[in-house]
């Protein structure tokens, strides 16, 4: 008989419920002995989704590896807010080299560990979406192709937020950034075909690809744990809303991430060797408008005149995702 994996969902409140669970099943973050891989006192903005995501990813990875972890970080917000000399928020072995080379540097660390017979020590590479889908993309593809034993994590906040909110290859259509301004003829970022790196990672047929958001932190921890059970190149793409760049209230970060999945714009799934193995179904579907209108970067879709044409195009993308991944339970679809 097939055994279904137990999954924990977060609903309503933004806390991770643990008290009713067996201690072994509680989240990494609820464990008093967690690493605090990225400790408090760093300089991230209030409500930063990336800081939250990185803390969960690394603490989960530290637990999964018994603390035998080396982290390689690309240039970007995460690097800047965590290591202003002479301070460091990192309580893991941590290396920052450049913006575009984190996957290659991580591959180098993994190669050194193989040469030294220390494959018990695992490697995580991490970058924002700029460092992953744009400037670091060549190195990332090389890492996948070689199947180096690295988990690469992209914290996707859909733009170059560290440099002041410019467009990246991960910026969605119609979003306003400082380099995709809103004018009469140019309502924010163009409607292109997009660059969804999880698909590109899957095309490399690497052992594991997953997406996650900071709205479902138990799911994020579980995916890190799963990734660390496997060897070879693994990729985790985490949606991390950015209050500064998206124009959202700092208290709304997790709600925004949840709405991104519940409207279908950000599909949450797992894939192994190029095949989707699991999806997180949408339990309360919302129209994209629910997600869009809370963000200043989309305000021009609603003011001064409502742009139903553009909202419909975005809705169509969400609908396509829902169909493609089967995100709705049968009773709802």
């Amino acid at each position: 008989m097939a055994v279904q994996r137990v999954k924990f969902y977060q609903t309503g409140s933004f806390a991770v419920g643990n008290r009713l669970l067996d201690p072994a099943m509680r989240s990494v973050q609820s464990d008093a002995t967690r690493t605090n891989a990225i400790t408090s006192g760093h300089r991230a903005c209030r409500g930063c989704g990336e800081a939250l995501g990185a803390r969960y990813v690394l603490d989960a990875a530290m637990r999964a590896t018994g603390g035998k972890l080396v982290t390689v970080n690309a240039t970007g917000c995460l690097e800047v807010f965590s290591t202003p000399y002479p301070e460091s928020a990192w309580q893991v072995a941590w290396l920052h080299s450049l913006f575009g080379n984190a996957p290659a540097v991580a591959a180098g660390v993994a190669a050194a560990l193989r040469a030294k017979g220390r494959t018990d020590i695992r490697v995580i590479g991490q970058a924002g979406d700029g460092g992953t889908v744009d400037i670091g993309f060549g190195c990332l593809s090389g890492l996948f192709e070689r199947d180096d034993d690295v988990l690469f994590v992209c914290y996707d906040n859909q733009g170059y937020m560290n440099t002041g909110v410019q467009r990246s290859g991960a910026t969605p259509p119609a979003a306003r950034t400082t380099t995709t301004p809103v004018e009469e003829q140019a309502p924010g970022n163009r409607f292109g075909q997009g660059k969804f790196v999880p698909f590109i990672a899957m095309a490399h047929e690497i052992p594991y690809v997953a997406t996650a958001t900071i709205a479902d932190l138990r799911d994020l921890e579980a995916k890190v744990e799963r990734a660390m059970q496997l060897r070879g190149a693994r990729y985790l793409h985490v949606l991390v809303p950015c209050p500064l760049g998206w124009g959202t209230d700092a208290s709304e970060t997790i709600r925004i991430a949840r709405l991104a999945t519940e409207c279908g714009l950000f599909p949450v799934f797992e894939a192994e060797r190029g095949e989707v193995t699991d999806v997180n179904p949408i339990r309360h579907r919302v129209p994209v408008e629910e997600y869009l209108r809370r963000q200043v970067r989309y305000r021009h879709l609603f003011e001064p005149t409502r742009r139903d044409d553009l909202i419909a195009r975005i809705q169509a993308r969400a609908d396509a995702n829902i169909l493609r991944f089967g995100l709705l339970d049968e009773k709802e679809s």
Partner: protein, 394 residues
């Protein structure tokens, strides 16, 4: 073991005897034979557990070396030309992080126009990136300098480039004595990194440094690199003791003692130059050469010590700073400050154009035509064998 070998093969064998733990490479002419040789040695299992990583670009090649070195492995790569420039950002990063990577640069021109042949434009363009730069005169030196380079890099925690002329050396077959493993092991101890990525003692490497400390970081890098000027001669002496043959060091003077003209050059052209000097000496012309092996850090004192007042100095340059002039000349001018040594620059051998003995003879003869008269003799900047007909038809 002494044998007829291609320069690239000698370098590959020598690097292997230095027991690298991670070798990463991306192919570019004329560097390819070196990494092909190393890949074969690694594949044979002889270097186990060395990892050979085939990467997708030169930028990745050096980045893999950076990660490997920071994780405590002895790391090596090789490149040339466009590849070196594609690494530029990572070059500064490796030196800034104090990672003792050793890299061979098979010197080649930079495009456009694309040109695969030898000159020094590539390494000279990156002379300020914090790497030590050593230039080999011949293939014996090229091979031996790698052993010294690993020792030097790891002693100072500074990366080292070993520059050897593309094709002229990399593809030339000559008798080369590749150092025995036992002797290399005696000379080069295992790599002990100054700091390492260790989960048991986690450290942060590569923090962001603002105006309050950035100048100090650069000052320390300068001081550390300058230490090489005392370390290299000591390592060269020790090399001679262990291996029983001289090693290149900071500079190599050739028949300069009573010379009234000294040609300063780097790399394989020094061989042609030595033969030309011998010919001219037979004719009674008092001329010498000064080879610069260590170009970064620049051996100011050694250059001054090798020259004396009244000597005319000609810098024979295989690279060129467009809009300014000779690259080596700038350092020479600083080194010669206060000395009575009129300096002129000759740009030669760009993009693989051969520097022939007749051309050198003519150059030296012209330069000596009016000894003692600084207004006579060569122009301050000359392009050797410039084809005026081609320019006229351009």
């Amino acid at each position: 073991m002494r044998a007829q070998r291609e320069g690239s093969q000698a370098v590959a064998l020598t690097v292997a005897r230095c027991r690298p733990e991670v070798v990463c490479a991306y192919p570019i002419s004329p560097q390819t034979h070196i990494v092909e040789g190393l890949s074969a040695i690694v594949a044979s299992g002889e270097l186990a557990p060395c990892e050979f990583v085939n990467v997708e670009s030169e930028f990745a090649a050096l980045s893999v070396a950076i990660g490997a070195s920071a994780a405590g492995a002895r790391a090596y790569t090789a490149t040339a030309s466009q590849g070196l420039l594609f690494m530029a950002e990572a070059l500064w990063n490796a030196s800034g992080l104090g990672l003792p990577i050793v890299m061979t640069v098979a010197n080649r021109a930079i495009g456009a126009p694309i040109n695969i042949w030898n000159d020094h434009s590539d390494a000279m363009a990156l002379r300020d990136c914090g790497w030590i730069q050593l230039y080999a005169q011949d293939n014996q030196e090229a091979a031996d300098l790698h052993i010294l380079a690993f020792r030097l890099a790891e002693q100072l925690s500074v990366p080292v480039m070993v520059c050897m002329d593309g094709f002229v050396l990399t593809h030339a077959v000559e008798e080369i004595d590749v150092a025995d493993q036992e002797l290399v092991d005696r000379y080069l101890p295992p790599y002990r990194p100054r700091q390492v990525l260790d989960p048991k003692a986690p450290i942060t490497i590569g923090a962001m440094v603002g105006p309050e400390a950035f100048t100090e970081v650069r000052y320390l890098a300068h001081q550390t690199q300058r230490q090489a000027l005392t370390v290299i001669p000591r390592l060269a002496d020790e090399f001679a003791t262990v291996f029983g043959r001289r090693s290149a060091s900071l500079v190599s003077p050739y028949r300069t003692e009573d010379a009234d003209l000294v040609v300063v050059a780097l790399g394989s052209v020094l061989g042609t130059l030595a033969e030309t000097i011998d010919e001219l000496r037979d004719d009674g012309v008092r001329v010498g050469a000064l080879g610069i092996t260590t170009f970064r850090p620049f051996p100011t004192e050694a250059v001054r010590a090798a020259l004396r007042d009244g000597q005319r100095v000609v810098a024979l340059e295989r690279a060129f700073s467009i809009g300014s002039g000779g690259v080596v000349s700038q350092d020479l001018r600083v080194a010669l400050a206060g000395m009575d040594c009129p300096l002129s620059t000759v740009v030669a051998g760009l993009g693989g154009r051969p520097i022939t003995r007749p051309s050198l003879r003519q150059l030296i003869t012209q330069a000596r035509s009016a000894p003692g008269d600084p207004t006579a003799g060569p122009q301050p900047l000359v392009f050797l064998d410039l084809d005026r007909d081609l320019l006229a038809h351009g």
